[in-house]
Symmetry: C2
Subunit: 399 residues, 2 copies
């Protein structure tokens, strides 16, 4: 039984607090039974431009609905984000809504800012009421401990994590701009459906609308391209902030996209028992939407994902999933490459060296390319493989 050790990645040199105007804190409030840090706070010296994408799940948690409303009311002006881990405040009814609001109000009062400039995120078990005594104490402690050094940023990161096997952060400096980001989430496939939370900040000078327009594009090549399961959680949130201390040219979106892509990769890599990230690229579909259907059909297949785990160049599984997508127009036009090795073309398998292909699959990054001849549509999806530990982690009785 393969039990790969969890991977380790060196910390990024910069984190959220490396962005001018941002302070952060992470404290232990006792929400998590483990005693690990569980209340995090991110505060800007003054309100900054912010935009966010939230889960589309019908059972979106109370903090998601509230943060969405706050962003709308403030016109994308964000002063602070308060986060608790250990409890998702989802499926908690009216009390959950009150608790989320109280978290924002407590921070707004301390900062003397309008409540709609404070956003809130929660992550953890669902269906349980927040232990508000602990949350209040935690928020007060976080307010008292805000810092602008890298260590404060690291404490923030540790307080948003749940079952993550490792801390996830990324940064890019380019064209005089700095972008740094952190996130939590493990392939979106945690026991109890733990959440993806991602916070990306830049010192670029941007209007909130510019960020809001860019975010869907960025997400499509990053967090929305992580497809380990069809599950999206009740709490998924992707927030971007621009603190506006650096003059900004037209190239500002690229480093934001790079940081987001790296964070998403780190999430895919942290699927339970995953041994690699497979990037499925579809080209030549009739439209981008059709390409996404194909990529997601392949990525969502347990058969495909177990073959990836087993380093099995099983072209039949990849091809048959493409064949299951009604929108494919010319199936005979399919060409399939695995780590650059052509394995299928024109309706028949290519004569390729299976042992060599299998060996090539033993990598941190595996590329599965699917070329169609239907048009110019393209899409990309990152998926983790499915191994024994996935079953072990997910089958275990949760109480």
């Amino acid at each position: 039984m393969h039990k790969p050790a969890p991977p380790t990645f060196p910390p990024a040199p910069l984190t959220l607090t490396s962005i001018a105007k941002l302070k952060a804190a992470g404290v232990r409030a006792g929400i998590k039974a483990s005693g690990n840090p569980d209340v995090a706070l991110l505060v800007a010296d003054t309100a900054v431009a912010g935009a966010a994408l939230f889960t589309q799940n019908h059972f979106a948690a109370a903090p998601v609905a509230l943060s969405k409303a706050h962003l709308l009311r403030s016109g994308g002006q964000v002063r602070a984000v308060v986060i608790n881990s250990g409890n998702a405040n989802a499926c908690t009814g009216l009390q959950g809504e009150k608790d989320a609001l109280e978290m924002c109000e407590r921070v707004a009062k301390a900062l003397a800012c309008p409540v709609e400039q404070v956003l809130v995120c929660s992550t953890g078990v669902i269906g349980q009421k927040l232990p508000m005594d602990k949350v209040r104490t935690g928020i007060d402690a976080a307010l008292a401990e805000l810092g602008s050094d890298v260590e404060a940023g690291r404490r923030f990161l540790s307080a948003i994590m749940t079952t993550d096997a490792y801390a996830k952060e990324a940064c890019v400096q380019a064209d005089g701009l700095t972008v740094a980001g952190v996130c939590k989430g493990a392939g979106m496939i945690e026991p109890n459906m733990a959440t993806m939370l991602a916070f990306v900040a830049t010192d670029a000078t941007l209007r909130a609308e510019q960020l809001a327009r860019a975010l869907p594009r960025i997400a499509q090549q990053s967090f929305n391209a992580v497809h380990v399961d069809t599950h999206t959680s009740t709490n998924d949130t992707f927030l971007a902030l621009a603190t506006g201390t650096s003059p900004t040219g037209p190239g500002w979106e690229k480093p934001l996209a790079q940081v987001s892509h790296r964070l998403a990769w780190l999430i895919a890599r942290d699927g339970e028992g995953a041994t690699k990230v497979t990037t499925i690229s579809v080209r030549g579909a009739a439209t981008d939407a059709d390409a996404r259907l194909v990529a997601r059909a392949v990525a969502s297949s347990a058969l495909v994902r177990t073959a990836l785990f087993g380093n099995d160049p099983n072209w039949g599984r990849f091809v048959s999933q493409v064949g299951n997508v009604p929108q494919v127009r010319n199936p005979r036009g399919l060409r399939c490459l695995l780590q650059g090795i052509e394995v299928f073309k024109a309706g028949e398998p290519t004569a390729f060296d299976r042992a060599q292909a299998s060996q090539a699959m033993r990598a941190e990054d595996v590329a599965l390319e699917l070329e169609l001849s239907d048009g110019q549509g393209k899409a990309m999806v990152m998926t983790s493989d499915l191994g024994y530990r996935y079953v072990e982690v997910n089958a275990e009785y949760t109480t």
Copy 2:
């Protein structure tokens, strides 16, 4: 590591050869490396009414395309079905088409019937040419060994099986009619995507059009309700024959549906490493189509299926998958019952005894009921659970 022994089921008292006019054979032709039977033949004394449903996969195998064409040309008149296992004759190009036709021609010549009255099915590895010398010898041997006793029917069944853990057959006698059926397939999730083949026969007196109209209805409550993966194979075939020796009233469809449902259940139960069949029933969706979307979303989730394997009454996973279906209109109206125990209602979990619910999940048949309040739409899906052995079987390098 749970390694449940494969289940066993008593043989049905009747099989295909119990239906008047039908003879069968199953022989060893050496197509399978194991030496197990691999050529099967079903012959009617005269042409009988037949109808079939085939895979929708774009890479449908040569025998699928040919059988479809033959049924069309013959107007649903079927004299014989020839099947080989061990090789799917899929992704085999022009040679594959020629080989499928030659199989039909050889049988048609021996029976002195039009070639379009002969159908052909193949199942096994894909992407390899049929060893036609062996296939020819096998067909001749099967023609010579045709028998009408139960043993001949059993030999037929053993020759269509591939990685099935047990033989799958079912029969019903009602209203003076006999219906018997056999099938092969293990949750449609085999290594190399082996096929589902199902053959159901009745002595009812029916026109081919009557069978053809009923088949989609029957499949929706049986073979099309088996949802272990999103994969459908290149070769899936469901064939029904009516030999016309018994006078037939309006109730003929029900026993056909019952036999088909039982066969489909046996396929779901044979998912690799499966320990049970979970029937997901959705009621109260806006339409039947929406109900199917919900049922399939829940059934296709690896998170849901690992929870079922672990006897974990993890309502969060079921509910969140319902929440991911955009067509759900009133998510607050969702009620969720597991083995009759209410676990979720009106946006919040019910206070239920988790240990008792977990115990109730340790059964051959598990019922997961999802009640919506959007309308009258309903749907049913059967799924197997996902355990360690699924990974083991599917991750293993296939050469």
